[in-house]
């Protein structure tokens, strides 16, 4: 079975800016995959190459086994992209927009699926409203609908929940999860790291056009985050020996980032030696944000 997405040594420069630098990546069919990185890391460039909105300087990219340049028609039929920018055609209503997008893929009797998309994205009431009259969150949902209208095997969501309120975001993720459970491959970029942590089975982190981490979400959390503890001291003075692990102060507590659980004993020993009492000590749950920050600092 061909991978949903296969990228081999992709490179892309814009003038002197190296937007993608020897990126290789394979995403299996049915995965829920996260693509994370700070602004300018190359996430959108990578999506543009896959979608045919830009062409790689070197390397090859395939969607469901179809080369995005040589077999662009098959590759694009297999791909649905929710673009990051909030774009729309002001001439048309929501339903017209979805029908037209469906027609571009040769699907002209697609109203049952369009109705379902409208319902699942909570847009049924707005089906006949002009796109100009919709709020930002509603326009974002129409973008999601446009990406789904031809039932693509691979769905790329580039910041799909920006500007969408919490309740609708939950509904959107429920819908996307169901699509994933039905066999669709999902690739997600988001700035809400808790979303990626909750949804994605595997994550790639990009920085300056390079993949700096690629693993399952679970492994990333285990291997990269170490142990973070919150500790309240009496007297409220951190012994100098613990300064290298100190990352923040929260209220009356200090936050220490330790390499592993064994380091907790070394912290306690240092406190005893300095005659400082640990009034409270809490081991914090690792999250993707810590991993992300560490990775971006490290690489």
């Amino acid at each position: 079975m061909a991978p949903a997405i296969e990228i081999r040594d992709a490179r892309k420069c814009y003038g002197t800016l190296r937007a993608l630098d020897h990126v290789s990546l394979e995403i299996a069919q049915g995965e829920f995959f996260g693509l994370l990185g700070p602004n300018g890391a190359g996430k959108t460039t990578l999506i543009s190459l896959l979608a045919g909105l830009a062409r790689a300087d070197a390397g090859s990219l395939e969607v469901m086994g179809h080369d995005v340049v040589r077999a662009f028609r098959a590759a694009r039929r297999a791909l649905g992209v929710v673009p990051q920018e909030l774009v729309f055609d002001p001439f048309f209503s929501v339903r017209e927009t979805l029908r037209i997008q469906s027609g571009y893929f040769g699907l002209r009797r697609n109203d049952a699926w369009i109705d379902e998309i409208l319902e699942r994205l909570d847009l049924t009431d707005k089906a006949d409203s002009n796109m100009r009259t919709l709020s930002g969150g509603m326009k974002r949902r129409v973008l999601v609908g446009q990406a789904l209208v031809h039932r693509p095997a691979v769905i790329i969501l580039d910041e799909p929940t920006a500007g969408v309120d919490v309740e609708l975001r939950q509904g959107l993720w429920k819908f996307i999860r169901e699509l994933n459970a039905a066999g669709h491959t999902i690739v997600l970029t988001t700035h809400y790291l808790e979303e990626a942590e909750t949804l994605c089975g595997r994550i790639a982190m990009l920085k300056q056009g390079r993949v700096v981490a690629l693993d399952t979400t679970r492994n990333l959390l285990q291997h990269f985050s170490g142990v973070r503890v919150r500790i309240r001291l009496l007297p409220d003075v951190l012994p100098p020996g613990l300064a290298p692990w100190h990352v923040a102060r929260e209220g009356e507590s200090e936050i220490l980032q330790l390499p592993d659980h064994g380091a907790i004993e070394r912290v306690l020993a240092a406190l005893r030696a300095a005659q400082v009492q640990a009034q409270e000590l809490e081991v914090l749950q690792a999250d993707l944000e810590q991993v992300f920050v560490q990775m971006m600092r490290k690489s």
């Binding site: 979608a51 045919g52 909105l53 920018e85 774009v87 001439f91 017209e96 027609g103 571009y104 002209r108």
Partner: protein, 251 residues
């Protein structure tokens, strides 16, 4: 199934939704030209024997309106889509460069046709208009609309902002259509300007179209047909090439 019919439908719907602006307004403008010029020149100018100046002017104005609106349709659609960013919805699809080209150009021909037909029908209130060779008129209407539709695609792709497109329109399309013998026969011009007019491809579109009405023109219709068909072939090749390489559309 192909996405071509849908892109064509979308392009037709786009101008159909604003027909006052895209069809009625240019018809009114052409009629005002006709009223003013025919009022001033009707009794002073006769270009062809037995043909009133108003009748002579009508096909030229219809063709001028057809050409300008065919250009406006494809160019404005593309520049608006590029600037608002919704061109991405077309670029993400399996549409081929040829399908995109045909959809934009056919929609441009359709709008040009509607405007041109509107001008001609309105003119019937003011003058008797023969139609000696309807097929010639139809051929030049289609080819002229296609050339300007393709030129509109090129301009829409090339321009990064409305100002650049307006420059293209005001400094190239409008002068070339006005100087194409819409208001006069090029035989009435001094020798130098006659030769200069023969370098203007728009002249052959207008003259060939007018031949269809009166059976007379400044150059033989086959010459006009050869020039117009050659221009369309060259421009189509250029447009398809730009769409194929994704010039200013795909990074």
């Amino acid at each position: 199934m192909s996405g071509f019919p849908t892109l064509l439908y979308k392009e037709l719907l786009r101008f159909w939704k604003v027909t006052f602006q895209t069809v009625a307004a240019p018809i009114l403008t052409a009629l005002l030209y006709l009223l003013i010029f025919s009022h001033v020149l009707e009794s002073r100018v006769q270009v062809y024997p037995g043909v009133s100046y108003t009748a002579f002017l009508a096909p030229g104005l219809a063709m001028m309106s057809l050409l300008q609106n065919a250009f406006a349709n494809s160019s404005s659609s593309l520049i608006q889509s590029k600037i608002t960013g919704n061109i991405v919805f077309v670029l993400l699809t399996p549409l081929t460069p040829l399908q995109m080209f045909l959809a934009y150009v056919l929609a441009a021909i359709a709008r040009g046709f509607l405007v041109g037909l509107g001008v001609l029908l309105s003119t019937l209130l003011l003058a008797d208009l023969p139609l000696v060779h309807p097929l010639w008129a139809l051929t030049f209407a289609v080819l002229g609309g296609a050339i300007l539709g393709a030129l509109g695609v090129v301009a829409g792709i090339w321009a990064d902002k409305f100002d650049q497109l307006a420059t293209f329109q005001n400094f190239l399309i409008v002068p070339l259509t006005f100087l194409a013998g819409v208001f006069y026969s090029v035989h009435s011009l001094p020798a130098f300007w006659q030769r200069a007019s023969h370098l203007n491809p728009f002249f052959y579109m207008v003259d060939g179209f007018r031949y269809g009405f009166f059976g007379a023109g400044d150059v033989p219709p086959l010459t006009s047909l050869a020039v117009v068909a050659g221009c369309l072939a060259g421009l189509s090749a250029l447009t398809l090439r730009l769409l194929h390489i994704g010039y200013k559309l795909r990074a």
